[in-house]
């Protein structure tokens, strides 16, 4: 008789059902795992053997074959230990087969028979819920699984013995409770920023419409400081967004103690990041920084120092809101709707364009440095601002700075307008994500605005994408004002953010 257990394999953030079949036949005592297991899965044999032994169960001297079906799907990761062990227990008659018939099982075993946490419990739970089955997962991940829905039956044992006792009715395990890690550690606040009024305004607009942003300025002007404060003014996560980012974090194994976080992600990868680290992939497909920043902020400091390939690999996620990783044996899609915030110096020495500064290498230095960012990528950045060095007086006699809470209030108001506007569209949540035809209808400017836009489009040689991005930005500005129609002043401000500052700097 073949014992069957259902578990999952992960493709992107989808959980694909995998059937674990365990067969014990007479013959030479061998223990084989087949079905394209990777090293971690093949080694599970030793862990399963030891864990069963520690739980007081000896494997019979029979020919044991474990098949992971579908056999042509590569199996990766350590979460196959528990389903294999359960399958063996069913085959040995230690657990009744009907007890696990309607369950999806995943978990790693330690040598002493304890069930340890694995990555991807949340997507597995959602997958189990979609299949109409229950879930058996490690105790440390139970809180994570409980998020998948009230009607999902979750069993979260901390050891094989606890699971066996649960099935035999000796000690029934209760359903774990969903847990959330609330913002105990406070985010950096906008009130810390001295001066930089125009940058603050730009940051607020970027937050209000989900626009990409580029800050250019000399070292020490506060670009990183500004970017770090963007999460504090972003609107709160909707339950669906929370689930999306948690699924990715779960796959990447970044959820601690099975607790979800209600913070928007803020990812700041170092500029030495490889393409696999940025967009995901590798021999074991994992989500990259763009996906981990889904529904949040991807901050790239020292923008031109990233390798050109890495930067241009961001073009697809920025446009489509998802990343497709194609490899020889994988083709996976990760959601990556991000807000890109980049910061750079105007030239290598960092001070080009500063009053009184003259570079030894002349204007070529700045031009070469800025040319590292390709035109198509730059075209996707709506807000480009200059962050000048702070004057000493700003530090000594700082004016009153607004707190994040005050700014966030205006941002949330603008976002609420957008949410109502795009209520029927599942993929669009902010102006920046709206497609061209939608934005043309919702952001049609008044007549004076149209004229200005026409003039600017020819003078600035706007691309079709650039034209629509100006419209999106203008729409956000109107939303911040609470205006129904996009006025000339909104178009003008949007154009101003687009014009600055690269070409201007190159000429300096």
């Amino acid at each position: 008789m073949v014992a069957r257990i259902t578990t999952v394999a992960f493709q992107g953030i989808e959980a694909v059902p995998v059937d674990v079949q365990v067969l014990m036949t007479p013959g030479k005592p061998v223990f084989n795992i087949v079905g394209l297991p990777d090293k971690a899965v093949a080694e599970s044999r030793e862990r399963v053997h030891a864990a069963l032994h520690a739980s007081g169960l000896a494997l019979p001297a029979k020919r044991i074959t474990v098949n992971l079906a579908p056999a042509d799907l590569p199996k990766e990761g350590s979460h196959y230990d528990l389903p294999i062990a359960l399958g063996l227990m069913v085959a040995m008659g230690a657990v009744a087969s009907d007890a696990i018939a309607e369950q999806v099982v995943l978990g790693e075993l330690s040598l002493d028979g304890r069930v340890t946490a694995v990555a991807g419990v949340l997507p597995a739970a959602i997958g189990a819920s979609a299949m109409g089955r229950g879930l058996i997962c490690p105790a440390p991940s139970g809180a994570e699984a409980a998020w998948a829905g009230e009607d999902l039956a979750v069993i979260a044992p901390d050891s094989l013995i606890a699971l066996a006792n649960h099935f035999s009715g000796h000690q029934v395990l209760s359903r774990p409770q969903p847990a959330i890690r609330s913002g105990a550690d406070a985010l950096p606040d906008m009130a810390d920023i001295k001066g930089q009024e125009s940058a603050r305004r730009a940051l607020e607009i970027a937050a209000a419409g989900g626009h990409n942003m580029l800050m250019v300025g000399p070292p020490g002007a506060g670009k990183s400081m500004l970017a770090e404060r963007l999460p504090s003014i972003l609107p709160a996560l909707s339950p669906r967004e929370l689930l999306e980012i948690s699924m990715i974090a779960s796959i990447a194994g970044e959820l601690t103690d099975g607790k979800l976080t209600d913070r928007r992600p803020f990812r700041a990868p170092h500029h030495s990041a490889s393409m696999a680290a940025m967009v995901g992939g590798g021999t074991r497909a994992r989500p990259g920084e763009v996906s981990l920043a889904h529904n949040g902020v991807l901050f790239l400091d020292e923008f031109p120092e990233f390798t050109p390939q890495v930067l241009d690999s961001l073009r697809q996620p920025l446009e489509a809101g998802e990343t497709v990783v194609a490899r020889a044996n994988h083709r996976v899609t990760y959601p990556s709707r991000i807000q890109l915030v980049a910061a750079m110096n105007p030239c290598r020495c960092g001070n080009a364009g500063e009053p009184g500064h003259s570079c030894r290498r002349g204007p070529r230095c700045a031009a070469d440095y800025q040319a590292r960012i390709s035109g198509p990528l730059l075209d996707r950045i709506d807000i480009r601002i200059e962050v000048p060095a702070l004057a000493a007086t700003d530090l000594i006699h700082p004016g009153e700075s607004e707190t994040s809470a005050a700014v966030a209030e205006r941002v949330t108001a603008a976002r609420n307008i957008q949410r109502q506007r795009y209520a029927g569209l599942s993929k669009v949540r902010a102006n920046a994500q709206a497609s061209a035809d939608i934005i043309e209808t919702v952001a049609a400017p008044e007549r004076a605005g149209v004229r200005l836009l026409e003039d600017a489009a020819s003078a600035m040689q706007l691309t079709a994408r650039g034209y629509h991005r100006v419209l999106k930005l203008a729409r956000t500005l109107a939303d911040l004002d609470g205006a129904e129609v996009v006025a000339r002043i909104h178009v003008a401000e949007a154009l101003a953010y687009r014009a600055l500052p690269l070409e201007l700097k190159a000429a300096a």
Binding site: K28, P29, A42
Partner: protein, 127 residues
């Protein structure tokens, strides 16, 4: 039982040990299928059957239990397994039965000790 010195002594000593082991198996309800089964690849001391189980038994006589336990290394395991394969080839009826590799330890002043399932050859092979 002092440790056998000469080759002749060792041979006789081994015979006595095997006899004891065979008696133990018979007492446990096994039926002996072969004794001293010699093949080009190795030798099996005893092949015994009980119900649907065939046990290939290696008999080890040593001055202490520990020495007896340590006396089967990977190479001798390999020889026993290879010889068992050849025995199976000659007895196709046994292929559908459960197979097991046992040891019987013969130690002076102790009762013979039967270790069922002493090793599993296919187990530590890493795929």
């Amino acid at each position: 039982m002092p440790r056998a010195r000469s080759r002749e002594d060792a041979y006789r000593h081994g015979h006595v040990a095997e006899l004891l082991a065979a008696l133990l198996l018979l007492a446990k309800g096994y039926r002996l299928l072969a004794r001293r089964y010699k093949t080009p690849l190795g030798e099996i001391d005893l092949v015994a059957k009980r119900g649907r189980l065939v046990a290939f038994v290696e008999v080890k006589a040593r001055p202490s239990r520990r020495e007896a336990l340590e006396s089967v290394d990977n190479r001798s395991e390999r020889r026993i397994v290879d010889a068992a394969d050849l025995w199976l080839a000659a007895h196709p009826d046994a292929a559908g039965l459960n197979l097991r590799y046992d040891m019987i330890l013969i130690v002076p002043w102790r009762l013979p000790e039967h270790l069922p399932d002493a090793f599993r050859p296919g187990w530590d092979k890493v795929t």
